[in-house]
């Protein structure tokens, strides 16, 4: 067992881990940050995306020991300081960009990483960036819309009424 320390969502965190412990397991099982989900075994679905030192990382594909000393942000750390939803989170709710919610944490984290590197992405760029995030519920339509809206771009209203 190895003792590791890191900063998670702005707070110091530490724990004893085995060499094989994944960052996703450490976050979920040790730190009880269960917002990070695990949806596959092959680094395909992206439900586990977190930010490590500002980069989007699939937490199921990184060993916890590799993240030692890093600044980690999970979906639990994405709301505004007053607890209200951030712009991206709010856009997901406003545009119905989630249904069952299981892929949602990864989608939010990927969306944030995309908008950091490309603040006004085209629709095609959003779809391309989401290549590593699978959603089975929404058909992606409203996720793409939410991300475009969060970037300040005009999108169609939420539903034809």
């Amino acid at each position: 067992m190895t003792k590791i320390e890191m900063t998670v969502n702005g707070r110091a965190a530490s724990g004893e881990v085995e060499g094989r412990t994944l960052l996703s397991s450490f976050l979920r099982d040790e730190l009880k940050l269960t917002g990070t989900h695990v949806g596959c075994d092959t680094s395909q679905c992206g439900a586990c995306v977190v930010h490590v030192d500002g980069e989007a990382v699939k937490a199921c594909t990184m060993l916890a020991v590799e993240a030692a000393g890093s600044e980690v942000t999970t979906v639990e750390g994405m709301a505004n300081a007053d607890g209200s939803l951030s712009v991206i989170q709010q856009a997901f709710q406003d545009h119905h960009g989630l249904q069952c919610g299981f892929c949602t944490p990864g989608m939010v984290m990927s969306a944030a990483a995309l908008l950091k590197e490309n603040p006004k992405p085209s629709e095609a760029e959003v779809r391309d960036y989401l290549e590593g995030n699978i959603c089975r519920c929404t058909g992606y339509h409203n996720i793409v819309k939410a991300i475009m809206a969060a970037s300040g771009q005009e999108v169609a209203p939420v539903a034809a009424e």
Partner: protein, 790 residues
């Protein structure tokens, strides 16, 4: 004008806040103090005789609590099947025993053979690897026609054959149908495959069993669409635990799509093992385990024939389908190719004679059961493909051929035993043609051709039977369960309400949509209403969510319970207002006396119910809580028309969806935003089936597509761009037999879209001079290219 709240408003989903902030409570998020973990040792061969399961090396390994094999479950029941189909000779289907852990034989890759319970998951996995299996491999049977034709390899030695049933529907129509084919002016025949799919909700299945020794109570936390069904099946038929000693909780569930309806071995195992080990036992499926243990969907091989007279009227439809059951009967498997498929073969058309034959077959593959649409996509695919082929053979417009044969008068009794209550198929056709700008297609095709691409336009109509269904009817058809739904509405003293529903949300948004209905009925704000679901301990017995039944059946139960609440509240109000009950009106959250300015607020009435100082105690009881069970009198029949335009690259065979439009008739709509989201999701799964997804076995029964590296899930860039994609639900013929006039929207997209896409691809290929009548799904580049180049 968009509404602010109530029925018809796109109220934002309240559940989103917890999902967006990581505060959801999914089953894998539940950890019970002292829990152990289980790892299943699963068969890596498709068919074999188990000589021994040697656990001796594993027994002493670190952290091992207990190891279980098939022998440990001889005293409990097998996994039950919830539907018995009767074959065309009046005989019951063949129903094999389905053990919790394999005993004697293994019959599919992924079948659990042994289970190790250990302190940690890693210890359980390590010990499972140390179990030594001695299995004599037997030849596997994978191909359905071979399984029926050849009795040498039987999946179940104690059955007479691999045929589960040979079903004819309607058997009395067979001779007349055959005669109609002899007299037909034209017959179109098509042989096709409806490809095997895996539902793949993003949350893998999880089960946590817990046991309280002091009270002898078992609790199962599980990823289920219907916790009461699991409690009934597991308690009564598998483990012998009475309902009052068994609680089943399905908390936030990350998608279902049918595959989380069924009762699975892992649920029974964890419940059983928790008692045996006297500590909680948890299992979390890996994605690979999910591929080889979640019930699969579709997998039909069909020959369909359509007979037409000299005026192109449909005179008869005849089908023969082989439907894969897999190695065992999953919970509702036998009903899918029969009562959810044969009954839909009329589609939107007034075909007078229909005969459907279905041979359900055991093979050495994972069990097959309901997946989004469940039988109805299979019916629609055959019918709409053969109609398209007929139009081409006859040289007529596929839209006009459909229109000419549409059912236009309702109610309409089909020759396959269902009665459509309402619909307007011309309206949805008109709408989708308008939305898709069919008139502009020729110009767009010319543009595509100028780029060296082929462009095709596909049209498709469909009908589905949803909101299943009358219990007495499904009982006659072989269901071993009722199909009502329940709701308890509890009004609190200060006027807020809690709805406890037997329905279950795993993405559909019940917590938002259900309050919209009650808010309208009482005239109070949606925020005063909370929905509780997913826990047998605090909801009335319900049948759960599948078959697009939540709002149609569960919503109706809630309406009925709320009507009882309002009736009682009016009695209280009449007492408080000293007026006749018949003069009391409820509007905007206040009771008033008709024709006067006397009124009392909702909250004053609810307070009086719980503080009954000034109260008609001689006439009514205190309190304000009512339960209703709603059993529908018929299915609902959503219908629609979809169009798709594809581009095909002749050099590579790659297909792209350029435009897509849907016009659905869901009857009345409670929350348009949620409805459109359901349609988007269904269409994505349908496009996935048409272009990408395939669950593939080799001839030895090895599962070749057991991860997201091998099974092509639709991704964001596989789906149509926003500007050329519209889902519409403005054509509304309200259901005539439920109180909300709703029909259900969950499955439409997955039913309507696969034939739309394939029809468009065929149209594109034909436009390039390729004499291709049909392509099996998924229409991968390799398949499309081969069709163009052979």
């Amino acid at each position: 004008m968009p509404k602010d709240g109530g029925i018809g408003a796109s109220s934002k989903r309240r559940e989103d806040v917890r999902f967006l902030t990581g505060a959801g409570n999914y089953t894998d998020d539940i950890n019970i103090h002292g829990q152990a973990h289980v790892a299943f040792l699963r068969s890596d061969i498709a068919h074999g005789t188990i000589n021994s399961v040697d656990t001796s090396a594993a027994q002493g390994m670190p952290g091992v609590v207990k190891i279980f094999t098939g022998a440990d479950f001889e005293a409990v029941g097998g996994m039950p099947c919830g539907w018995q189909v009767t074959d065309k000779h009046g005989q019951p289907m063949q129903e094999p025993r389905h053990p919790i852990l394999a005993h004697g034989k293994v019959r599919h890759v992924g079948e659990p053979i042994a289970a190790v319970v250990a302190d940690t998951l890693e210890q359980a996995r390590d010990a499972a690897e140390a179990i030594v299996l001695d299995i004599d491999e037997l030849p596997a049977v994978v191909d359905m026609k071979a399984a029926v034709a050849n009795n040498d390899v039987k999946v179940h030695d104690d059955l007479t054959s691999n045929l589960c049933y040979d079903w004819g529907f309607v058997e009395e129509n067979k001779a007349a149908t055959d005669e109609a084919f002899e007299k037909a002016a034209h017959v179109t025949t098509l042989e096709l495959v409806n490809n095997r799919l895996v539902a793949n909700p993003m949350e893998p299945r999880v089960a946590v069993g817990d046991y309280a020794r002091g009270t002898d109570e078992s609790t199962l936390y599980t990823t289920s669409q219907n916790p009461h069904v699991i409690r009934l099946l597991m308690g009564a038929f598998v483990l012998g635990i009475p309902e009052h000693k068994l609680r089943v909780v399905a908390p936030d569930v990350g998608g279902g799509f049918g595959t989380k309806i069924f009762h699975y071995q892992e649920e029974a195992f964890c419940t059983f093992a928790a008692k045996a080990c006297n500590r909680a036992v948890k299992w979390t499926s890996s994605r690979s385990e999910a591929f080889m243990s979640d019930a699969h969907g579709r997998d039909h091989v069909t020959k369909i024939e359509l007979a037409l007279d000299g005026d192109n009227n449909f005179t008869a439809v005849r089908t023969e389908t082989y439907a894969n059951m897999g190695a065992y009967l999953s919970t509702f498997a036998p009903s899918i190719p029969t009562w959810l498929h044969g009954t839909l073969m009329a589609g939107n058309y007034k075909t007078p004679l229909i005969y459907v034959n279905v041979k359900a077959v055991f093979t050495n593959t994972v069990p097959v059961d309901a997946y989004r649409g469940a039988g109805r996509p299979e019916a629609t695919f055959q019918l709409e493909r053969v109609i398209d082929k007929a139009a081409r053979e006859l040289g007529v417009d596929p839209v006009e051929l459909r229109r000419q044969n549409f059912i236009t008068e309702f109610p309409y009794a089909t020759p396959v035993a269902v009665e459509y209550d309402t619909g307007d198929y011309h309206a949805t056709m008109d709408k989708v043609l308008e939305l898709s700008d069919r008139d502009g297609f020729a110009a767009r095709r010319a543009e595509s051709e100028a780029k060296g691409k082929l462009r095709g336009f596909g049209i498709n109509c469909f009908i589905e039977a949803c909101g299943i269904a009358p219990s007495n009817l499904v009982g006659q058809l072989g269901a071993r369960a009722g199909l009502y739904e329940s709701a308890t509405v509890r009004v609190n003293a200060t006027g807020g309400l809690v709805v406890m529903t037997g329905s279950h949300s795993h993405g559909q948004g019940h917590e938002t949509a259900f309050p919209q209905v009650i808010a309208d009925m009482i005239g109070i704000d949606e925020s005063m209403i909370e929905v509780v679901h997913g826990d047998t301990a605090n909801t009335p017995m319900g049948m759960g969510t599948y078959g697009s039944r939540s709002i149609a059946v569960g919503g109706s139960a809630m309406v009925r319970a709320t009507e009882k609440i309002i009736a009682k509240a009016k009695k209280i109000a009449s007492h408080l207002l000293e007026a006749s009950e018949s003069d009391i009106e409820l509007k905007d959250g206040a009771f008033s006396v008709a024709g006067t300015d006397k009124s009392v607020a909702w909250g004053d009435v609810t307070l009086a119910a719980y503080v009954p100082h000034n109260y008609p105690l001689e006439d009514i009881e205190p309190g304000l809580e009512e339960t209703a069970f709603y059993d529908p009198s018929n299915f609902t029949y959503p219908a629609g028309a979809y169009t798709c335009e594809v581009e095909v690259d002749p050099a590579t065979g790659e297909v792209t969806i350029e435009r897509f439009a849907s016009a659905d008739d869901f009857g009345n709509v409670v929350n348009p935003m949620i409805v459109e989201g359901q349609v988007h999701g269904g269409i994505a799964q349908g496009i996935g089936q048409a272009l990408l997804e395939n669950c593939s076995y080799d001839e030895n029964g090895q599962l070749l597509s057991a991860s997201y590296m091998d099974y092509a899930m639709p991704r964001a860039d596989n789906l149509p761009a926003m500007d050329h994609y519209v889902v519409d639900h403005s054509c509304q013929t309200p259901c005539t037999h439920n109180p909300l006039g709703v029909k259900g929207c969950g499955e439409a997209g997955a039913i309507g879209s696969p034939p739309t896409v394939i029809n468009a691809i065929i149209d594109a290929l034909q436009s390039g001079g390729h004499k291709v009548d049909h392509l099996d799904m998924p229409a991968t580049p390799a398949r499309v290219w081969a069709a163009m180049n052979t």
